[in-house]
Symmetry: C2
């Protein structure tokens, strides 16, 4: 393959490389320590090319939130086993597996996500992306629960209400994991299972 | 009362006035818009006196988190009716009542709290305070549930596990309320009731 055919010239690939490097820089330095130089250090893409794609850090972080949205949509898309309860369990398992004290560099940098997410309080563009991320997760819960109700393996619950509740617990789990000391993720996970057992699974 | 005896000279009262004004300024301008001048505009305490008590905005926000901790400890201290389930319901009622689109100026400014809380990701002093706030709420849940188990009105659950789970859902509720559009607090509240009914209350 000649230089001109290389992936580096494909804008979409360059953008993907920048975002992968952003994930890595956020894992290493956190949100406060993120600079364009540090992102450039994790990729072959030049600083000037990063500036060409993203005019400032704010615009780059919006692209980060869009990448989180795509990861949520793609990464948690379970190959359906046509057993909605098993699929729900695997879906939750994947979400909790992302809360890892030694995460892979391609995993969601949870602390940075919590910090960036908090900017949605006062920034409408961030707020729109965060709402989309929550909606994407909620609709996956809803779809699995709906299938479960139809197959009689989930109780006849308000699937929208249960989905909102599950998502809220997960958002709280990420928040407490990122902002407090000695938070026991596995304790919350265990009680979530009791909730499903007593209230949701038929 | 002579001038020298007035409350204004009591350092504790001055500090309280500064913190009340900080709550008001956070309600009006949010975290990003908070300045010492804007705090001074909400109180008779002078800017120089605010600087005397708090050397910078960071130090002032630590005092804000300590005030949140005291509010959590005091404001949710229910007069016990010696009916732990009713007390638990009233405790949750007070927490959810604080999520109000038109909050009183003395109420917790939730958006600002979420933004300030997120700094605990990378700031150890903030993290310590946020951990204390979560612990204070969790221990109040734990105490009510323990009384309920002893009186036979709460199932023989792991009270620590249930308390952590309840708190996590509440933290998620605050976070989603502050960072997304069209979040339906009452839907999460309704499902929380179903959880208590099916899993916790005897």
């Amino acid at each position: 393959m000649t230089q001109s055919e290389s992936c580096d010239d494909d804008p979409q690939t360059t953008q993907e490389q920048i975002l992968q490097a952003t994930y890595r820089a956020l894992h290493r330095y956190g949100y406060a320590g993120l600079t364009i130089q540090r992102i450039a250090d994790f990729t072959d893409v030049s600083k000037s090319s990063i500036y060409y794609h993203h005019e400032d850090k704010d615009e780059l972080l919006l692209a980060f939130l869009e990448r989180v949205l795509r990861d949520v949509q793609a990464g948690f898309e379970i190959e359906p086993e046509h057993d909605p309860v098993a699929d729900l369990e695997r879906f939750l398992e994947r979400i909790f597996a992302s809360i890892d004290p030694e995460p892979a560099t391609e995993a969601l940098p949870i602390g940075a996500y919590v910090e960036i997410r908090s900017q949605a309080v006062s920034n409408a563009a961030y707020r729109e992306r965060v709402t989309d991320i929550d909606d994407a997760l909620e609709s996956q819960f809803r779809s699995l629960l709906q299938q479960g109700v139809e197959q009689g393996v989930v109780k006849d619950v308000d699937v929208g209400q249960v989905s909102e509740y599950l998502l809220t617990t997960i958002v709280g789990t990420l928040e407490r994991y990122a902002t407090t000391d000695e938070f026991a993720v596995e304790v919350v996970r265990a009680e979530l299972e009791r909730y499903l057992e007593h209230r949701v699974i038929a």
